[in-house]
């Protein structure tokens, strides 16, 4: 029972199990799960990194689309902020996808006498650095965290680079549209290059960088996640980096298990959830580091 992905045979039951696990994690922690999906597709299933990135984004379109509808019904999120983020991320996704395409076409790099794919080496190293940072942030004790319902404006909200705009739904006033668009650009590059939807990076930026209340950050983040992953899927699919069959197999398991994950999260304390999330990120880092070490040994 295998599925052919870019000339590689992928074990179908394993792929279904991966979708179920990623969906459960996404539902439990309120993230897209891209940080788990892309590395595991490469490390465990040997899917080429550029195909793993594109396919992961394609799967994320489905999961974030459903989450977006749920947040819209609850009237959470600031659509003007999303539009500014997307203005930057559209460009960023294209830049990220081009960079990944160039790395995939580049000749192999020689590390410690072993030839390694340039794309895989760069993406895995970036994953290790980004995920270690995220694990440290989420694992830290947040006893001095801002008020989740009415936090003060964060450092990014205080930058006065014109033009300035108001976000009454948050509420935040006189926020630099330029800064928001550049955050979107960074998010887009991350998405196009690494297949990360942004749950790992965008949520902390919204809460601690801009001072969004948690609920508004979740609603705003998921809209940006949907639009960025849709754009990322489109540009990667044009380059032949999306396997729709694999994405749908992952998505079917993920949509069901995400409901179970969200249900399970209600029975756990916030601090326990944070620590579990940090532990999960660390396990992913170890898997990626092991894969890199295996290639050079």
């Amino acid at each position: 029972m295998t599925l052919a992905v870019d000339g590689h045979a992928v074990w179908l039951p394993g792929l279904i199990a991966l979708g179920v696990v990623v969906g459960y994690v996404a539902g439990m922690f309120g993230v897209g799960g891209g940080f788990l999906l892309t590395p595991l597709l490469t490390v465990v299933f040997r899917v080429p990194i550029e195909v793993a990135v594109g396919t992961g984004l394609c799967q994320m379109v489905g999961t974030s689309g459903g989450a977006l509808l749920r947040h819209q019904r609850l009237a959470q999120g600031e659509i003007r902020f999303d539009l500014l983020i997307v203005a930057g991320s559209l460009l960023g996704v294209e830049l990220g996808a081009r960079a990944l395409g160039a790395l995939a076409a580049a000749p192999p790099m020689v590390v410690l006498g072993h030839e390694l794919s340039a794309a895989r080496l760069v993406v895995e190293l970036l994953y290790i650095v980004l995920l270690l940072g995220a694990a440290l942030m989420f694992g830290r004790d947040r006893s001095a965290a801002p008020d989740p319902f009415a936090p003060p404006p964060g450092p990014l909200a205080r930058l006065r680079v014109p033009p300035l705009v108001d976000f009454p739904a948050v509420p935040l006033s006189a926020v630099s549209a330029t800064v928001v668009a550049y955050v979107g650009l960074g998010l887009g590059v991350m998405s196009g290059l690494l297949g990360l939807g942004g749950g790992i990076a965008l949520m902390p930026i919204l809460v601690y960088g801009f001072g969004f209340p948690i609920r508004q950050a979740a609603g705003t983040g998921v809209a940006a996640l949907f639009l960025t992953s849709a754009t990322g899927t489109f540009v990667h699919a044009l380059r032949g980096h999306v396997d729709l069959g694999v994405a749908m197999v992952l998505l079917v398991g993920a949509t069901v298990s995400a409901q179970l994950g969200a249900e399970a999260s209600h029975h756990l304390r916030t601090q326990t959830l944070r620590r579990l999330f940090a532990a999960l990120i660390l396990v992913t880092v170890l898997a990626v580091a092991w894969d890199l070490a295996r290639q050079v040994s």
Binding site: C58, V61, G62, G65, L69, F234, A237, L238, M248
Partner: protein
């Protein structure tokens, strides 16, 4: 390289699936609440 039609399908198909699942789970949740509301109230035996 793939055509723009394939790229569009890669965006539309998962988005439609996500939307369909949202409505399916919403319907299931509503039905569950309706059934729970119809159940007789538990008898309180406390003194």
């Amino acid at each position: 390289m793939r055509g723009p039609l394939y790229a569009l399908v890669c965006v539309v198909v998962p988005a439609v699936w996500g939307t369909a699942m949202y409505f399916a789970f919403d319907l299931w949740e509503r039905r569950r609440r309706r059934v729970a509301a119809r159940l007789p109230r538990a008898v309180d035996y406390s003194i």
